[in-house]
């Protein structure tokens, strides 16, 4: 592992994704990526007493499945990097409590899947871990009541609002057969002064543009060198803004898709500007994208998860919404 340019890490031995799993809720099971989920649940409670416990269960299921699909057992995993949107990251804590795996909580808001994947890759390539697991989740009901309004209130949503996915994705890193991590670019916090909490896409777009520009500069490549560039989750508004910012910097991308626009059918499923939440890009990556990379349909992609680093307190105090984006360059064997 060594540094490349100012912001990028180049992997020399390139850890592989040995196992991956995506689990989701009812709405996700009704969307266009339904068949890419390993498991879906029709009930938002997953037979638990609360939505928060249900979200924890999503992480338990995703991590357990990813470890099993890697042909490993819990005791083989040297460390697990996990995070979520809930206060004090309780979905991760309680979801992974019984696993008895050394635990490192990560917080990158909706960028957490890229962050946990970056940390797990670094741990494996450095020798700190034999196998490392990355997992993250979100749940529509836990996010709505924590960040917005009680669900019972039935608040009307603005056109720029995104729909928090009820989903979790997990990947197990190690050496062996699998899609390989080639580069990672860790993002810097970018804040263009957006204060509208119903427009996270706009708040995150500058960070996404910046991280992609950093990566392209550091690797001396252009967007056309990759089969596909996936962001998650800028939604419709943020995607347009990111492309505009990139164009202003002389970079045009034609091979871009946003996980938030892939998970649901926007017309039929009433999700306004698209999906969001840690679990959105996590489940699209650990289901749809990695499935296609393993089947050879995709060979060389960039996965860039984006996060809005705000809380209800910071917004109530009039703060703007800082964004962050981390990038992972993945290559099929």
């Amino acid at each position: 592992m060594k540094r490349l340019g100012q912001y990028t890490i180049l992997f020399e031995r390139c850890p592989a994704i040995l196992g991956h799993a995506a689990v989701g809720g009812k709405k996700e099971a009704e969307g266009p990526l339904a068949r890419d989920f390993d498991q879906t649940f029709l009930d938002a409670y997953l037979a638990q007493e609360s939505w928060e416990k249900a979200e924890s269960m999503l992480q338990t299921e995703a991590a357990t499945l990813a470890i099993r699909k890697a042909g490993l057992e819990k005791k083989n995993i040297s460390m697990i990097f996990a995070g979520d949107l809930l206060n004090q990251c309780i979905s991760s804590t309680f979801g992974l409590r019984e696993m008895d795996i050394p635990f490192l909580g990560q917080y990158g808001a909706c960028s957490t899947m890229a962050q946990t994947l970056a940390m797990a890759s670094m741990a494996v390539e450095s020798g700190a871990a034999n196998y490392a697991c990355a997992v993250t989740s979100s749940h529509f009901c836990t996010a709505e009541r924590q960040f917005r309004t009680p669900l019972e209130y039935g608040c009307q949503r603005t056109p720029t609002a995104q729909w928090t996915a009820t989903a979790s994705g997990s990947a197990v890193l190690g050496y062996g057969r699998g899609v390989r991590v080639r580069h990672v670019t860790i993002g810097r916090i970018k804040d263009f002064g957006v204060t509208d909490v119903a427009n996270m896409g706009a708040a995150m777009a500058p960070a996404a543009a910046q991280t992609l520009l950093d990566f392209l500069t550091d690797t001396a490549t252009s967007p056309a060198d990759y089969d596909h560039i996936y962001t998650g989750d800028l939604g419709a508004v943020g995607s347009t803004l990111m492309k505009k910012l990139l164009l202003e910097n002389g970079v045009q991308i034609k091979n871009h898709e946003d996980c938030g626009l892939m998970l649901y059918d926007r017309e039929m499923q009433d999700v306004h500007a698209g999906g969001s939440g840690c679990g959105c890009s996590a489940s699209v990556l650990c289901g749809h994208i990695l499935n296609r990379m393993e089947h050879g349909t995709l060979k060389n992609i960039l996965f860039m998860a984006t996060g809005a680093l705000m809380s209800t307190t910071s917004s109530q105090q009039g703060e703007s919404i800082p964004g962050i984006a981390h990038l992972i360059h993945l290559q099929a064997e």
Copy 2:
């Protein structure tokens, strides 16, 4: 870097702490460790508009000082690992937003100083970072109103309650002269079923005992091999319980001190079972302990920060309080 035993990471090139800084509030400036702080503030607001913004400022100050004391500039730092207790870790985000350093949010509750230090050490030794910064903070007023009751309510505190420190600690890792990181043991989540949110020490003691036992087993050493074993922040109740649990496993420690019992004068400063909060063990390490290691008074120590991985939501839903502890083995040059 390689694995040693089941849970420990052995550093071969041993990254050094090139710079470190501790900042604190008025109560901390009146305590027995006053002279070990680089900077203290008499006003809980630090000239900001809210306590939350004040806590962010603590991180800005600590990280800026640590980087300067390492003889570096912000642009030299490859990545910063930061975390705190506030919902969505906003002290870190807003405190470090202007720094323009690649940012990786960490959540380990009050164990965060050990976690950020572990991650920064791994990043440097692996080559992922030239220099990496670790920083964490807490603030009495932000923690009380988020986790407990409005300060204006003047709620009576139970004897087992701990006092959240208004403080921040930061360390910069790299190669050069400084105290060296020899081993790291990443902890597992331990839950003995404690539900009393006014007794965090008891909730964290099992995790502390487990991580120390894991480290001693992996390194085939005993407590007497170290000058001192520091925990943070078990307080009076948790420290007694940890020692009891260790004794049940045949391990007696006589060279133990808890950062929560060092930061304040319990009799004179009315802090009940001792100090707590991410900033407590962070400031005791990055002030008092590292100062003594550099002056040669201490040569070989274990620093084990402990965290209670709960939220108000998890407690309101009747969940118990899981604990975690990460251990760092430090050696003077």
